[in-house]
């Protein structure tokens, strides 16, 4: 039996577990100090400095950060329909390896998720796989066609956490208005893929110096800014809760900052690639860098960092978008946009925000756990006594080099290949169970050891 399997078995068999010596970072509880966690059958029974109780299993977390389980509000699992790119099994497994205990999956599958039966299918498959919780985002309009609203109340009852036509915007402003008004009736979150298609259509990369040099059709930052401006005004008009997906531009950040200052109920996310990469990457013509919205200019990257710093941007979500090798191994104009991110998100974020930009770890935990829970209402987001442990444990200093070959995701369209990062997930605990573990020290008591033999 290998070491990890042994560790898992000892965790399963232990009546009591002591997680010792980690820096507990839980912004919701205002906590950032070294404390121990005492678990009984996977449930949190004690949080305190230096717990001296006996336990069947002690896990040594010296030097580690222990946070409430991370959640990703924007993931494409590709099932049903594109199982050659990713499945619920592989996508949720990648989430667990990446430190996530929850993901919200987007409805732009084939067919799109717009009925109760499809929501039930997703939840059943996710439960069977058991890698992490899956919270389906239902299509906002039937077949994501932007015409007729989906049966939102029913979808919500079946488990949809939000509605969105992600992959495309709701192009018609009146439909968007009705959607927001109707969603407000049921306090349903609306996630907008903010893109003015008449400005972006045919574009391959950000419009700017690099699109000029490379002769590639450009997508102006204004296509995002204009669309976000429309949607926040409609959120103001309707009072509905609006969440702006994948903000990539200075314009976008500025519009959201203004909206928030006016008290409009809007929240927003950005993705790890917008804090770490720019449109200059496209000079290699490598389709791995094609994504929508596109990688933007350095000034946009700086604005996104500032947006995260001042809270204009609430959360970081991967927009994990797997594609097959065949689909991506084409000329840029033919290759589909999208990049995967679940297995690199934490590493990239800790490297670029914490180590390079001086963000506190608590700011990062807020963006990955606290705020996603508050925005989505999916529960979790903090470490609570009496609840099943839901934890992300990471080593903020561990160095590693990104190798997509080693990913559990089926896809390899990762823009961070060969990048050296500091910060790596060491263990993910979901519902009191270990869903991912890597290289931690597990010390079973003699009693437990004898049971395990």
């Amino acid at each position: 039996m290998n070491r990890t399997a042994q560790a898992l078995r000892s965790w399963e068999r232990a009546e009591t577990i002591l997680l010792r010596g980690a820096l507990l970072v839980d912004p919701a509880a205002g906590l950032e100090e070294v404390q121990d966690l005492f678990l009984r059958r996977g449930r949190v029974e004690g949080i305190a400095p230096q717990i001296a109780r006996e336990a069947d299993l002690i896990v040594d977390l010296d030097g580690m950060v222990c946070a409430p389980g991370f959640g990703d509000l924007h993931v494409h699992l590709r099932e049903p329909g594109d199982e050659d790119a990713e499945t619920i099994e592989t996508g949720t497994h990648a989430a667990a390896v990446g430190g996530f205990t929850r993901v919200a999956c987007m409805p732009n599958t084939h067919p799109p998720i717009d009925t109760r039966g499809q929501i039930e299918f997703l939840l059943r498959r996710a439960a069977e796989c058991g890698h992490c919780r899956v919270h389906p985002v239902a299509a906002a309009t039937v077949a994501r066609a932007g015409k007729q609203l989906t049966d939102m109340r029913e979808l919500q009852g079946a488990g949809a956490i939000a509605v969105s036509d992600d992959g495309s915007p709701v192009a018609d402003a009146l439909i968007m208005r009705r959607l927001l008004e109707y969603a407000r009736t049921w306090d349903m979150l609306v996630i907008t893929h903010a893109e003015e298609l008449s400005l972006s259509r045919g574009g391959i990369m950000n419009e700017g110096y690099w699109s000029t040099v490379l002769g590639l059709p450009g997508i102006p930052a204004a296509s995002e800014g204009v669309a976000i401006a429309r949607d926040v005004r409609l959120a103001e008009l309707t009072g509905a809760r609006l969440h702006v997906a994948h903000v990539s531009t200075r314009e976008g950040v500025e519009v959201i900052r203004l909206a928030k200052s006016r008290g409009i109920p809007v929240t927003a996310e950005t993705a790890p690639h917008y804090i770490s990469l720019t449109d200059e990457s496209l000079k290699s013509f490598d389709p791995v860098y094609r994504v929508n919205p596109p990688l933007r200019a350095e000034q946009d990257r700086q604005a996104v960092l500032e947006g995260l710093r001042d809270g204009t941007l609430d959360i970081i979500a991967c927009d994990h978008a797997p594609h097959t090798r065949v689909a991506k191994d084409q000329e840029l104009s033919a290759a589909p946009p999208g990049m995967i991110g679940l297995e690199t998100a934490v590493g990239v974020t800790i490297e670029f925000l914490h180590h390079r930009e001086g963000f506190d770890l608590s700011q990062i935990v807020r963006a990955f756990a606290t705020r996603p829970a508050e925005i989505s209402g999916w529960g979790g987001g903090r470490i609570r006594l009496g609840e099943d442990a839901d934890l992300t444990i990471l080593d903020p200093h561990a160095e590693w080099v990104v190798d997509p070959q080693s990913f559990v995701s089926m896809a390899g369209n990762c823009p961070f290949r060969d990048l050296k990062l500091r910060g790596r997930v060491r263990m993910t605990v979901c519902d009191g169970r270990i869903t991912h573990e890597e290289g931690l020290r597990f010390c079973p008591s003699e009693r437990l050891q004898s049971q395990l033999v």
Partner: protein
Amino acid sequence: MAIKHLLGLQELNAEEILTILDTARTFREVLERPIKKVPALRGVTICNAFFEPSTRTRVSFELAEKRLSADMVNFSASNSSVTKGETLRDTIQNIEAMKLDIVVVRHSSAGVPTYLAKHLAARIVNAGDGQHEHPTQALLDLYTIREKKGRIAGLKVAIVGDIAHSRVARSDIWGLTKLGAEVTVVAPRTLVPLEIERMGVKVATSLEEGIRGADVINVLRLQLERQAGGFLPSLREYRMTFGLEPGGLGPATPDVLIMHPGPINRGVEIHPDLADGPHSVILEQVTNGVAIRMAVLYLVSGGTPPEPMVEGNVLMTAHPAGR
């Protein structure tokens, strides 16, 4: 100096560009002989892979290859297997299996030559990729200017027309600025791409301003579909505002050269009298194009550039190919 591929002028330095121009001069002399053929690329196999229709550039390359005694095959894919779902990857693997030494490629998608260079052992020559680069066209423009004016450095060059969608403009800008020319692009704002000033050029939105003091005016072809794309109100208005007319050369230098990469829309971007007039070097560009392409193919195959000042017979012997 070794040029492995010719993907664009952005990645060449001034010395490399001048080497190509010097080598082309040697070949240009060959083209004036009664027997216009040298054995320089005997035994070298070249594939002209044209994924986008082109007559002029392809014929120019074919001629250059024949003059160099290369073995040449054509692969025209615009209406064949590629549009029927064959991926570029399949095409490439086929090309690779045929053991070709040099692939001359034209494709409607920017970056395809770069992609080929990454995946093939063969040397790649870009014959135009999307709106990215068309390096042999720019090289023949540079050659023509240098022959006519004796230099490039310090000259004022105006490039007039659809800069935004032009691979010729991009390659010209890199080549001219690297060799020290002062470049102004002249077009309505709809046809000027963002931040082009960072490529080292000035932008003028008046023809009169743009060609003031110009030693060279390079007129670009206006794709007639730009009107439908909303870039222009009408061809009529374009002709009236940016079309080069016989009475309009006043602000330029008296011996200004008029160039055009072809094919010309006579009466749209340039008046026929100017296209065929004494300032025009348009047909010389075509002849020089063959010499430039001979030089490029010769150099990427591993050929030795001529010694400066010595019109040597290095080109008269066959040499091992690049592979």
